[in-house]
Protein backbone atom coordinates (compact mmCIF):
# COMPACT_ATOMS: atom_id res chain seq x y z
CA UNK A 1 0.00 0.00 0.00
CA UNK A 2 2.79 2.38 0.98
CA UNK A 3 4.64 1.61 -2.19
CA UNK A 4 1.53 2.36 -4.18
CA UNK A 5 1.08 5.66 -2.34
CA UNK A 6 4.66 6.65 -3.06
CA UNK A 7 4.18 5.67 -6.67
CA UNK A 8 0.99 7.71 -6.89
CA UNK A 9 2.73 10.72 -5.42
CA UNK A 10 5.56 10.35 -7.89
CA UNK A 11 3.18 9.97 -10.82
CA UNK A 12 1.04 12.91 -9.73
CA UNK A 13 3.94 15.31 -9.59
CA UNK A 14 5.18 14.36 -13.05
CA UNK A 15 1.72 14.94 -14.44
CA UNK A 16 1.59 18.30 -12.72
CA UNK A 17 4.94 19.35 -14.14
CA UNK A 18 3.93 18.45 -17.67
CA UNK A 19 0.54 20.09 -17.27
CA UNK A 20 2.06 23.29 -15.97
CA UNK A 21 4.50 23.44 -18.85
CA UNK A 22 1.71 22.82 -21.32
CA UNK A 23 -0.59 25.44 -19.84
CA UNK A 24 1.34 28.53 -20.79
CA UNK A 25 -0.79 31.66 -20.28
CA UNK A 26 -2.51 32.55 -23.51
CA UNK A 27 -2.03 35.86 -25.23
CA UNK A 28 -4.96 38.12 -26.03
CA UNK A 29 -5.26 36.74 -29.56
CA UNK A 30 -5.63 33.13 -28.56
CA UNK A 31 -9.31 33.28 -27.70
CA UNK A 32 -10.35 31.16 -24.76
CA UNK A 33 -7.53 31.17 -22.22
CA UNK A 34 -5.80 27.89 -21.53
CA UNK A 35 -6.66 26.31 -18.19
CA UNK A 36 -4.22 26.98 -15.39
CA UNK A 37 -4.11 23.61 -13.73
CA UNK A 38 -3.31 23.29 -10.07
CA UNK A 39 -0.47 21.09 -8.93
CA UNK A 40 -1.82 17.79 -7.62
CA UNK A 41 -0.47 15.95 -4.60
CA UNK A 42 2.46 13.66 -5.24
CA UNK A 43 4.84 13.48 -8.15
CA UNK A 44 3.25 11.13 -10.68
CA UNK A 45 -0.22 10.13 -11.73
CA UNK A 46 -1.18 6.46 -11.95
CA UNK A 47 -0.43 6.44 -15.69
CA UNK A 48 1.62 8.75 -17.96
CA UNK A 49 0.09 12.17 -18.51
CA UNK A 50 -0.67 11.71 -22.21
CA UNK A 51 -2.46 8.47 -21.52
CA UNK A 52 -4.41 9.96 -18.63
CA UNK A 53 -5.51 12.96 -20.65
CA UNK A 54 -7.14 10.78 -23.26
CA UNK A 55 -8.22 7.81 -21.19
CA UNK A 56 -8.99 8.87 -17.64
CA UNK A 57 -12.70 8.60 -18.31
CA UNK A 58 -12.40 5.02 -19.55
CA UNK A 59 -10.29 4.00 -16.57
CA UNK A 60 -12.85 5.52 -14.23
CA UNK A 61 -15.75 3.88 -16.01
CA UNK A 62 -14.14 0.46 -15.94
CA UNK A 63 -13.27 0.80 -12.28
CA UNK A 64 -16.77 2.00 -11.45
CA UNK A 65 -18.32 -1.20 -12.80
CA UNK A 66 -15.76 -3.39 -11.06
CA UNK A 67 -16.43 -1.70 -7.74
CA UNK A 68 -20.18 -1.41 -8.05
CA UNK A 69 -20.97 -4.91 -9.27
CA UNK A 70 -18.11 -7.02 -7.96
CA UNK A 71 -16.97 -5.10 -4.91
CA UNK A 72 -13.41 -4.77 -6.20
CA UNK A 73 -12.08 -1.78 -4.37
CA UNK A 74 -8.52 -1.34 -5.60
CA UNK A 75 -7.38 2.24 -5.22
CA UNK A 76 -5.35 2.76 -8.40
CA UNK A 77 -8.10 3.98 -10.74
CA UNK A 78 -10.71 4.85 -8.16
CA UNK A 79 -12.65 8.12 -8.20
CA UNK A 80 -11.75 8.57 -4.55
CA UNK A 81 -8.09 8.28 -5.54
CA UNK A 82 -8.47 10.98 -8.21
CA UNK A 83 -10.14 13.33 -5.75
CA UNK A 84 -7.56 12.61 -3.08
CA UNK A 85 -4.62 13.73 -5.27
CA UNK A 86 -6.22 16.22 -7.61
CA UNK A 87 -8.30 18.24 -5.19
CA UNK A 88 -6.41 21.46 -4.55
CA UNK A 89 -7.00 24.73 -2.80
CA UNK A 90 -7.85 27.88 -4.72
CA UNK A 91 -7.88 31.41 -3.30
CA UNK A 92 -11.45 31.96 -4.55
CA UNK A 93 -12.83 28.86 -2.82
CA UNK A 94 -13.28 28.68 0.94
CA UNK A 95 -10.58 31.34 1.32
CA UNK A 96 -8.06 28.87 -0.02
CA UNK A 97 -8.49 26.59 2.96
CA UNK A 98 -10.31 23.61 1.53
CA UNK A 99 -9.11 21.49 -1.40
CA UNK A 100 -11.67 20.93 -4.16
CA UNK A 101 -11.76 19.72 -7.75
CA UNK A 102 -12.20 23.22 -9.12
CA UNK A 103 -8.54 24.09 -9.72
CA UNK A 104 -7.77 20.86 -11.61
CA UNK A 105 -10.69 18.92 -13.12
CA UNK A 106 -13.24 21.69 -13.48
CA UNK A 107 -10.94 24.15 -15.28
CA UNK A 108 -10.01 21.70 -18.00
CA UNK A 109 -13.58 20.49 -18.32
CA UNK A 110 -14.74 24.08 -18.70
CA UNK A 111 -12.17 24.61 -21.41
CA UNK A 112 -13.14 21.43 -23.25
CA UNK A 113 -16.86 22.08 -22.59
CA UNK A 114 -17.32 18.58 -21.22
CA UNK A 115 -19.75 18.06 -18.40
CA UNK A 116 -18.44 16.20 -15.35
CA UNK A 117 -21.35 13.88 -14.62
CA UNK A 118 -19.46 12.21 -11.77
CA UNK A 119 -19.94 15.17 -9.48
CA UNK A 120 -23.70 15.11 -9.77
CA UNK A 121 -23.61 12.30 -7.23
CA UNK A 122 -20.04 11.90 -5.98
CA UNK A 123 -18.60 14.26 -3.44
CA UNK A 124 -15.80 16.48 -4.68
CA UNK A 125 -14.11 16.75 -1.31
CA UNK A 126 -11.28 14.32 -0.53
CA UNK A 127 -12.08 11.60 1.96
CA UNK A 128 -9.19 12.70 4.16
CA UNK A 129 -10.60 16.22 4.37
CA UNK A 130 -14.12 14.92 5.04
CA UNK A 131 -12.79 12.79 7.88
CA UNK A 132 -10.85 15.61 9.44
CA UNK A 133 -13.60 18.21 9.19
CA UNK A 134 -15.44 17.64 12.41
CA UNK A 135 -18.40 19.84 11.71
CA UNK A 136 -20.87 18.18 9.40
CA UNK A 137 -22.15 21.61 8.41
CA UNK A 138 -18.77 22.60 7.05
CA UNK A 139 -18.76 19.74 4.58
CA UNK A 140 -22.27 20.72 3.56
CA UNK A 141 -21.36 24.33 2.99
CA UNK A 142 -18.42 23.16 0.96
CA UNK A 143 -20.53 20.92 -1.25
CA UNK A 144 -22.94 23.73 -1.99
CA UNK A 145 -20.03 25.97 -2.81
CA UNK A 146 -18.48 23.36 -5.09
CA UNK A 147 -21.71 22.87 -6.98
CA UNK A 148 -21.80 26.63 -7.43
CA UNK A 149 -18.32 26.71 -8.87
CA UNK A 150 -18.90 23.77 -11.16
CA UNK A 151 -22.40 24.98 -11.94
CA UNK A 152 -21.43 26.54 -15.23
CA UNK A 153 -20.39 23.15 -16.56
CA UNK A 154 -23.39 21.44 -15.07
CA UNK A 155 -25.83 23.81 -16.72
CA UNK A 156 -24.62 23.22 -20.24
Amino acid sequence: MRRTAAFLRLLGAALAAVMLMASVPASANDGVPMPQLAKPKGEKCVEPTDYMRRNHMDLLKHQRDETMHKGIRTKKYSWKGCVECHAATHPDIAEGKVPTLYPFCAQCHHYAAVQIDCIQCHTTVPESVMKSSKAEGEADKLMTMMKGHLGETEQR
Partner: protein, 258 residues
Protein backbone atom coordinates in the same frame (compact mmCIF):
# COMPACT_ATOMS: atom_id res chain seq x y z
CA UNK B 1 -11.79 -16.36 16.06
CA UNK B 2 -13.79 -17.87 13.26
CA UNK B 3 -17.01 -15.97 13.86
CA UNK B 4 -17.90 -13.83 10.93
CA UNK B 5 -20.88 -12.30 12.64
CA UNK B 6 -21.12 -9.57 15.18
CA UNK B 7 -22.60 -10.48 18.51
CA UNK B 8 -24.20 -7.33 19.78
CA UNK B 9 -23.33 -6.05 23.19
CA UNK B 10 -26.21 -5.56 25.57
CA UNK B 11 -27.12 -2.52 27.61
CA UNK B 12 -29.66 0.21 28.01
CA UNK B 13 -27.48 3.26 27.50
CA UNK B 14 -28.03 5.68 24.65
CA UNK B 15 -30.48 8.53 24.51
CA UNK B 16 -33.10 6.75 22.47
CA UNK B 17 -33.08 3.61 24.51
CA UNK B 18 -32.94 5.00 28.03
CA UNK B 19 -35.78 6.49 30.00
CA UNK B 20 -38.26 4.87 32.33
CA UNK B 21 -38.12 1.11 32.34
CA UNK B 22 -41.24 -0.41 30.89
CA UNK B 23 -42.25 -4.03 31.24
CA UNK B 24 -41.15 -4.53 27.67
CA UNK B 25 -37.84 -2.88 28.34
CA UNK B 26 -37.27 -5.09 31.33
CA UNK B 27 -38.14 -8.20 29.37
CA UNK B 28 -35.82 -7.09 26.63
CA UNK B 29 -32.95 -6.69 29.05
CA UNK B 30 -33.62 -10.06 30.66
CA UNK B 31 -33.54 -11.70 27.27
CA UNK B 32 -30.34 -9.84 26.42
CA UNK B 33 -28.72 -10.89 29.67
CA UNK B 34 -29.49 -14.50 28.81
CA UNK B 35 -27.87 -14.07 25.45
CA UNK B 36 -24.76 -12.69 27.12
CA UNK B 37 -24.54 -15.69 29.41
CA UNK B 38 -24.88 -18.00 26.46
CA UNK B 39 -22.21 -16.25 24.50
CA UNK B 40 -20.00 -14.20 26.80
CA UNK B 41 -18.09 -11.27 25.49
CA UNK B 42 -18.42 -9.31 22.32
CA UNK B 43 -17.16 -11.06 19.24
CA UNK B 44 -16.27 -8.51 16.63
CA UNK B 45 -15.73 -9.38 13.04
CA UNK B 46 -12.32 -10.94 12.58
CA UNK B 47 -9.85 -9.29 10.19
CA UNK B 48 -9.70 -12.59 8.32
CA UNK B 49 -13.27 -11.98 7.12
CA UNK B 50 -12.21 -8.86 5.21
CA UNK B 51 -11.76 -9.68 1.56
CA UNK B 52 -8.72 -8.31 -0.26
CA UNK B 53 -9.51 -5.13 -2.21
CA UNK B 54 -8.71 -6.74 -5.56
CA UNK B 55 -10.92 -9.75 -4.98
CA UNK B 56 -14.53 -9.89 -6.17
CA UNK B 57 -17.37 -10.54 -3.75
CA UNK B 58 -17.71 -14.29 -3.23
CA UNK B 59 -20.88 -16.21 -4.07
CA UNK B 60 -20.02 -18.59 -1.24
CA UNK B 61 -20.89 -15.87 1.25
CA UNK B 62 -24.36 -14.53 1.85
CA UNK B 63 -24.54 -11.50 4.07
CA UNK B 64 -27.59 -11.25 6.23
CA UNK B 65 -28.96 -9.74 9.35
CA UNK B 66 -30.87 -11.02 12.34
CA UNK B 67 -33.18 -8.64 14.19
CA UNK B 68 -34.14 -9.68 17.69
CA UNK B 69 -37.52 -8.01 18.03
CA UNK B 70 -37.68 -8.88 21.74
CA UNK B 71 -34.63 -6.68 22.34
CA UNK B 72 -35.55 -3.80 20.01
CA UNK B 73 -36.46 -0.93 22.34
CA UNK B 74 -39.61 1.11 21.85
CA UNK B 75 -38.77 4.72 21.04
CA UNK B 76 -35.15 3.95 20.14
CA UNK B 77 -34.05 5.00 16.67
CA UNK B 78 -30.30 4.63 17.04
CA UNK B 79 -30.12 2.44 13.91
CA UNK B 80 -31.99 5.01 11.83
CA UNK B 81 -29.79 7.86 13.05
CA UNK B 82 -26.60 5.85 12.48
CA UNK B 83 -27.70 4.97 8.94
CA UNK B 84 -28.43 8.59 8.06
CA UNK B 85 -25.07 9.68 9.44
CA UNK B 86 -23.10 6.92 7.75
CA UNK B 87 -24.67 7.44 4.35
CA UNK B 88 -25.10 11.22 4.44
CA UNK B 89 -28.90 11.13 4.24
CA UNK B 90 -30.32 14.59 4.79
CA UNK B 91 -33.87 15.49 5.68
CA UNK B 92 -35.58 18.26 3.76
CA UNK B 93 -38.36 18.37 6.35
CA UNK B 94 -40.63 16.67 3.87
CA UNK B 95 -41.24 13.27 5.49
CA UNK B 96 -43.14 11.93 2.50
CA UNK B 97 -40.17 12.18 0.20
CA UNK B 98 -37.21 12.15 2.60
CA UNK B 99 -34.92 9.16 2.15
CA UNK B 100 -35.55 6.25 4.50
CA UNK B 101 -33.04 3.47 4.09
CA UNK B 102 -34.14 2.01 7.41
CA UNK B 103 -37.25 2.80 9.41
CA UNK B 104 -38.72 1.80 12.73
CA UNK B 105 -42.11 0.11 12.51
CA UNK B 106 -44.38 -0.31 15.54
CA UNK B 107 -46.89 -3.14 15.57
CA UNK B 108 -49.80 -3.07 18.01
CA UNK B 109 -51.98 -6.08 18.67
CA UNK B 110 -55.42 -4.48 18.80
CA UNK B 111 -56.85 -7.35 20.82
CA UNK B 112 -54.61 -6.77 23.83
CA UNK B 113 -52.52 -3.69 23.11
CA UNK B 114 -49.25 -5.63 23.00
CA UNK B 115 -46.73 -3.50 21.17
CA UNK B 116 -43.58 -4.47 19.39
CA UNK B 117 -41.19 -2.32 17.45
CA UNK B 118 -38.68 -3.35 14.81
CA UNK B 119 -36.45 -1.88 12.13
CA UNK B 120 -37.34 -2.58 8.50
CA UNK B 121 -34.92 -2.00 5.69
CA UNK B 122 -34.04 -3.60 2.34
CA UNK B 123 -34.41 -7.30 3.07
CA UNK B 124 -31.71 -8.28 0.55
CA UNK B 125 -33.81 -11.02 -1.02
CA UNK B 126 -32.31 -14.04 -2.75
CA UNK B 127 -34.99 -13.54 -5.42
CA UNK B 128 -35.41 -9.77 -5.41
CA UNK B 129 -38.49 -8.47 -7.26
CA UNK B 130 -36.75 -5.11 -7.74
CA UNK B 131 -34.12 -6.84 -9.88
CA UNK B 132 -36.78 -8.69 -11.88
CA UNK B 133 -38.55 -5.52 -12.92
CA UNK B 134 -35.57 -3.22 -13.53
CA UNK B 135 -35.52 -2.33 -17.24
CA UNK B 136 -31.86 -1.24 -17.31
CA UNK B 137 -30.12 -3.72 -15.03
CA UNK B 138 -29.40 -0.98 -12.52
CA UNK B 139 -31.06 -2.95 -9.75
CA UNK B 140 -28.90 -5.99 -9.16
CA UNK B 141 -27.81 -8.55 -6.60
CA UNK B 142 -24.15 -8.92 -5.78
CA UNK B 143 -22.71 -12.45 -5.65
CA UNK B 144 -22.66 -12.20 -1.85
CA UNK B 145 -26.38 -11.48 -1.71
CA UNK B 146 -26.33 -7.71 -1.23
CA UNK B 147 -28.99 -6.04 -3.38
CA UNK B 148 -27.91 -2.67 -4.76
CA UNK B 149 -28.82 0.04 -7.26
CA UNK B 150 -26.18 0.96 -9.82
CA UNK B 151 -27.06 4.64 -9.99
CA UNK B 152 -24.84 5.06 -13.04
CA UNK B 153 -27.43 3.23 -15.11
CA UNK B 154 -30.58 3.89 -13.05
CA UNK B 155 -33.05 5.95 -15.09
CA UNK B 156 -35.30 6.70 -12.13
CA UNK B 157 -38.34 4.86 -13.50
CA UNK B 158 -39.21 3.64 -10.01
CA UNK B 159 -40.50 0.23 -11.13
CA UNK B 160 -38.42 -1.29 -8.33
CA UNK B 161 -40.18 0.87 -5.78
CA UNK B 162 -43.49 -0.53 -6.98
CA UNK B 163 -42.20 -4.09 -6.97
CA UNK B 164 -40.66 -4.09 -3.49
CA UNK B 165 -43.09 -5.51 -0.93
CA UNK B 166 -41.10 -3.90 1.89
CA UNK B 167 -41.19 -0.31 0.62
CA UNK B 168 -37.45 -0.38 0.96
CA UNK B 169 -36.56 1.73 -2.06
CA UNK B 170 -36.45 5.52 -2.14
CA UNK B 171 -36.38 8.00 -4.97
CA UNK B 172 -34.10 11.00 -4.62
CA UNK B 173 -36.30 13.99 -5.31
CA UNK B 174 -33.92 16.76 -4.34
CA UNK B 175 -30.45 17.93 -5.23
CA UNK B 176 -28.09 16.14 -2.90
CA UNK B 177 -25.67 17.81 -0.54
CA UNK B 178 -23.11 16.46 1.88
CA UNK B 179 -22.68 13.05 0.29
CA UNK B 180 -20.10 10.79 1.83
CA UNK B 181 -17.24 9.65 -0.41
CA UNK B 182 -18.42 6.04 -0.03
CA UNK B 183 -22.10 6.79 -0.60
CA UNK B 184 -22.73 8.85 -3.73
CA UNK B 185 -26.34 9.99 -4.08
CA UNK B 186 -27.99 11.79 -6.94
CA UNK B 187 -31.30 13.37 -7.83
CA UNK B 188 -33.40 11.25 -10.15
CA UNK B 189 -32.10 7.87 -9.05
CA UNK B 190 -33.48 5.22 -6.73
CA UNK B 191 -31.57 4.13 -3.65
CA UNK B 192 -31.94 1.87 -0.65
CA UNK B 193 -30.06 0.18 2.17
CA UNK B 194 -26.71 -1.07 0.85
CA UNK B 195 -26.06 -3.18 3.93
CA UNK B 196 -23.18 -0.71 4.26
CA UNK B 197 -21.41 -2.57 1.47
CA UNK B 198 -18.37 -0.27 1.74
CA UNK B 199 -17.89 -1.39 5.34
CA UNK B 200 -18.69 -5.03 4.64
CA UNK B 201 -16.07 -5.15 1.87
CA UNK B 202 -13.52 -4.00 4.41
CA UNK B 203 -14.56 -6.64 6.91
CA UNK B 204 -16.82 -4.40 8.97
CA UNK B 205 -20.49 -4.55 9.82
CA UNK B 206 -23.30 -2.14 8.88
CA UNK B 207 -23.55 1.16 10.76
CA UNK B 208 -26.98 0.28 12.20
CA UNK B 209 -25.64 -2.94 13.70
CA UNK B 210 -22.71 -1.12 15.22
CA UNK B 211 -24.98 1.57 16.69
CA UNK B 212 -27.42 -0.99 18.06
CA UNK B 213 -24.64 -2.97 19.71
CA UNK B 214 -24.00 0.07 21.92
CA UNK B 215 -27.63 0.13 23.01
CA UNK B 216 -30.25 -2.57 22.72
CA UNK B 217 -28.09 -5.15 20.99
CA UNK B 218 -30.98 -6.28 18.83
CA UNK B 219 -29.12 -6.48 15.52
CA UNK B 220 -26.70 -9.12 14.39
CA UNK B 221 -24.83 -9.24 11.10
CA UNK B 222 -23.04 -12.10 9.45
CA UNK B 223 -22.78 -14.78 6.81
CA UNK B 224 -26.03 -16.74 6.75
CA UNK B 225 -24.64 -19.17 4.18
CA UNK B 226 -22.05 -20.41 6.67
CA UNK B 227 -23.72 -22.77 9.18
CA UNK B 228 -20.91 -22.12 11.67
CA UNK B 229 -21.24 -18.34 11.75
CA UNK B 230 -22.66 -16.82 14.94
CA UNK B 231 -25.72 -15.52 13.10
CA UNK B 232 -26.53 -18.90 11.54
CA UNK B 233 -26.16 -20.60 14.89
CA UNK B 234 -28.45 -18.08 16.55
CA UNK B 235 -31.06 -18.66 13.85
CA UNK B 236 -30.66 -22.45 14.11
CA UNK B 237 -30.99 -22.33 17.87
CA UNK B 238 -33.88 -19.94 18.35
CA UNK B 239 -35.50 -19.84 14.93
CA UNK B 240 -36.32 -16.72 12.95
CA UNK B 241 -39.17 -15.48 10.82
CA UNK B 242 -39.04 -13.57 7.57
CA UNK B 243 -41.44 -10.74 6.80
CA UNK B 244 -43.87 -11.88 4.12
CA UNK B 245 -42.20 -15.28 3.93
CA UNK B 246 -45.21 -16.36 1.86
CA UNK B 247 -43.79 -14.45 -1.09
CA UNK B 248 -40.88 -16.89 -1.25
CA UNK B 249 -38.27 -14.19 -1.71
CA UNK B 250 -35.82 -15.80 0.74
CA UNK B 251 -34.84 -12.59 2.44
CA UNK B 252 -31.42 -12.03 3.96
CA UNK B 253 -32.88 -10.19 6.93
CA UNK B 254 -34.50 -12.42 9.53
CA UNK B 255 -36.53 -11.51 12.60
CA UNK B 256 -36.72 -13.31 15.90
CA UNK B 257 -39.81 -12.79 18.08
CA UNK B 258 -41.91 -11.34 15.31
Amino acid sequence: MTDKAVQSETGTSGEGCGGAMSRRGFLGISAAATAITLAPGVTLISPAAAKPADQAASPKVRWGMLVDVTKCADGCDDCVVACAKENGLKSHNRPETDAQWIRKVTLIDKANGFTKTLPVMCQHCAHPPCVDVCPTGASFKRPDGIVLVDKHICIGCRYCMMACPYKARNFVHEDTRGQKPHAPRGKGTVESCTLCVHRVDEGGSPACVEACSKGSGALMFGDIADPNSAISQEIAKYGAARIRADLGLDTGVAYRGL
